[in-house]
């Protein structure tokens, strides 16, 4: 194992030693198939958020595989997979996109027997459970699209099979971000987003398929309507949801809408907005600027999302082997620990735990007060000792998921109504 590592890399000796130390844990993986001196390059298609330099460096050191990032937006990930399936070797896509991607036949099922930790993947994905308890499955819950009927099938299987659509990389539960210093009272429900108290100071994200679900959480919590499935609304439900949004917009409820990470950070940090839909790393960013911001857990639960690796049908031979090696490496702990330290969750918890300090694990995953200062992977201070993570432990957060990012059957109609909302 150590031999292969040395032969395959030309990085500094220290890197190799560091790698070798970490690899002793991963040695159970078996020798990687990449033994040739010529390093294999994998083109990794995904969003920039998941493409860390550190991961690529570590893969190079451990496996000798060169990761070449192809950073695009979430929308462009689908576009590429559908229109240019030969332009990447590994795709990092979101589960909700699968309902568009799988019918195109451009992704193949991954062989579970080649994924070492396949049966260790958290049951959120395989059964929709956290700690033995069922969680919300409205929308495109990963368990609905996790298995394929066959390797090249374009149909999802409701029961476990040997063929997996995506091997999870990261997932999280989203909620509202608030400015506690400007709101000055506890917030406990999604309905507060449209509370007239925050007129002209609230925001929602302008990505139709996600924005409409946040809006549905609000509408439901206001007691206006109870949805069968917030991730798959009927036309009447879409009408009713956009109507509520349009009324709020006309009444001047919203300060602005945001489309990307940085916009949401700016709105919050500048105080233009005091309550809005937000993503976890954006809250961290606002806080690291010294501005108080809370990722507020709400009684109705979270809207969750999950991303994972998929393989294009064009992949074969050495590249295919390398892709499996890379994915196995990804599940083997180092990458999981790296992602957990950023506030995301990783697919195989045991291996990640082995790579984290006990105090880190206690803070990020068990919801305990930080024993020591919590630092980001790059060393910047995230939280001072004594703080507790918003939303508490992994089980408390992921256990309170209400719905998942989704593609609706009435997608075209929804996009049209959303455009009407923006134009109103």
């Amino acid at each position: 194992m150590a031999d292969t590592t040395k032969k395959a890399t030309t990085v500094s000796r220290r890197d190799v030693l560091k790698g070798a130390a970490a690899v002793t844990g991963t040695a159970l993986l078996g020798a990687p198939a990449i033994i040739s001196a010529q390093p294999v390059t994998l083109r990794y298609l995904g969003t920039a958020v998941n493409q860390s330099k550190e991961i690529a460096q570590k893969v190079k050191a451990d496996l000798g595989i060169v990761i070449e990032y192809v950073p695009v937006t979430t929308d462009d990930v689908s576009k590429r997979i559908i229109t240019q399936p030969a332009s990447f070797d590994v795709a990092d896509a979101e589960y909700f996109q699968l309902r568009k991607l799988i019918p195109s036949g451009n992704l193949i099922g991954m062989d579970a027997t080649r994924i070492k930790y396949a049966d260790k993947i958290t049951p959120i994905f395989t059964r929709g459970e956290v700690a033995g308890k069922k969680i919300g499955d409205q929308g495109t819950a990963p368990k609905k699209v996790f298995y394929l009927e066959g390797k090249s099938s374009t149909k999802f299987s409701a029961t476990p099979t040997q063929w997996i659509t995506l091997i999870p990389t990261v997932y999280n539960a989203d909620t509202l971000g608030i400015r506690p210093d400007l709101i000055k009272r506890p917030i406990s429900s999604w309905s507060e987003l449209l509370n007239a108290e925050f007129k002209g100071k609230s925001s929602i994200l302008n990505i139709p398929s996600i924005g409409i679900m946040d809006a549905a959480m609000v509408v439901e919590s206001m007691g206006v309507h109870k949805y069968q499935d917030k991730g798959n609304m009927t036309r009447a439900e879409i009408d009713l949801t956009t109507k509520a949004l349009i009324e709020a917009k006309k009444a001047g409820q919203f300060r602005a809408f945001w489309k990307d990470f940085n916009e949401s950070v700016n709105l919050m940090a500048s105080g233009e907005v005091v309550i809005q839909s937000m993503w976890s790393p954006a809250v961290t960013k606002v806080r690291s600027m010294g501005v108080p911001c809370i990722y507020q857990p709400l009684k109705e639960g979270y809207r969750a999302w999950a991303a994972g690796f998929g393989l294009p049908k064009t992949l074969s031979g050495k590249k295919l082997d390398a892709a499996y090696d890379f994915i196995n490496w990804f599940l083997s702990g180092w990458a999981g620990a790296f992602l957990n330290r950023q506030g995301y969750y990783s697919a195989v918890l045991d291996t990640a735990k082995a790579q984290m300090e006990p105090y880190e694990w206690a803070y990020w995953m068990e919801g305990k007060a930080a024993e020591r200062d919590i630092k980001a992977p790059d060393g910047t201070l995230l939280e001072k000792a004594g703080t507790v993570r918003d939303g508490g432990s992994f089980e408390a957060r992921m256990g309170a998921v209400a719905c998942w990012n989704a593609v609706m059957d009435q997608n075209d109609y929804m996009v049209r109504k959303w455009n009407e909302f923006i134009a109103a």
Binding site: I82, R99, P208, R255, R416
Partner: protein
């Protein structure tokens, strides 16, 4: 010169290929003096055909196709156009999505056009008639380009800390006692969008108008004065008519840019204001390519109509 690329000329003007009796005659014609202008025009024509005409044709063709979530299929249907204009008749007198969006985009078009014209004309007039030395003119002209040294997006984003609720302007107004509450209409509003357009595009008015004005014979102005015209009369009857080509060219720049813009409206309008470009972008990101293509064709038609109307007012080619 005579080998290869014959297809290029043929493409350019079919009649240029003579009905010859032999290859020799044909080759000689190709190399002849008369063919030279076509050869000279060929590279640009080819670039145009490949990067402009072809994509445009593809867009029009795709706008007639069918689509679903993950694929588009060749067809010849008007469904996408029907979808663009769906409800436009039924919902009258209230406006449908497409009309509403175009109306909002046209509103910004008129606002941006009028304001940039007023400012651009004034600046160009000052540069041409009040700055005597050429060095002075050039220096001031370069000063006008300074904002263009940073990117479009940065120029827009820098308005946020200035106009925001806790921004510089509001903190000044509040501390000076001019308002009690910070003004919220300064940012993420029609006002901020128009402001950003003026900031971004005035230069595109200044340059062509300045160009037109600098060709005006000063003797004409003297003659006007000698004939008893007041300053305003000289301006209105001499300078304005002679600056028309510049005004029209500048207007075409501004109008086409505003019609297709969605980034400025998005950032400065806080994503709360609709624009045709944004609608197309959303449709693209949901893989509704044919629908987006249909919208693009409609937008193109509207822009072409506006430009046709403007060139109807002034024959730019003749004036140049």
């Amino acid at each position: 010169m005579s080998d290869g690329g014959a297809g290029g000329t043929a493409l350019l003007r079919p009649s240029a290929v003579p009905a010859t009796t032999g290859v020799g005659v044909w080759l000689r014609r190709l190399a002849s003096r008369a063919a030279a202008p076509y050869w000279q025009a060929a590279p640009l024509a080819l670039v145009f055909a490949f990067f402009f005409v072809l994509p445009l044709v593809v867009t029009v063709v795709v706008s007639l196709w069918r689509y679903n979530e993950y694929s588009i299929t060749p067809a010849l249907v008007g469904d996408n156009y029907a979808s663009v204009f769906s409800g436009c008749l039924a919902e009258l007198p209230s406006l449908c999505l497409t009309f509403k969006t175009y109306l909002s985009t046209l509103k910004f078009c008129v606002l941006a056009w009028a304001l940039t014209l007023l400012l651009g004309f004034t600046v160009a007039y000052f540069l041409t008639f009040h700055v005597r030395s050429l060095t002075g003119q050039m220096t001031l002209f370069l000063v006008c380009t300074i904002p263009f040294w940073t990117s479009n997006v940065i120029r827009m984003i820098s308005w946020v800390p200035l106009l925001g609720r806790n921004g510089l302007v509001n903190s000044f107004l509040v501390s000076a006692g001019l308002t009690r509450e910070p003004l919220t209409w300064l940012l993420f509003s029609d006002f901020s969008v128009a402001l950003a357009f003026v900031h971004l595009y005035t230069m595109f008015m200044i340059v062509p108008i300045f160009n037109s004005m600098s060709r005006i014979d000063r003797a004409l102005l003297e003659a006007a004065r000698d004939a008893g015209a007041s300053g305003w009369q000289a301006l209105w009857n001499v300078v304005v008519p002679l600056s028309k080509p510049g005004i029209v060219i500048g207007s075409i720049f501004v109008v086409t840019m505003v019609m297709g813009d969605y980034v400025t409206i998005g950032v400065m309008g806080g994503q709360q204001i609709a624009s045709v470009g944004k609608v197309i972008q959303v449709q693209l990101s949901y893989l509704q390519f044919p629908l987006a293509a249909a919208n693009a064709v409609v937008l193109l038609a509207v822009v072409l109509m506006v430009i046709a109307a403007m060139t109807r007012l002034v024959d730019v080619r003749k004036e140049l």
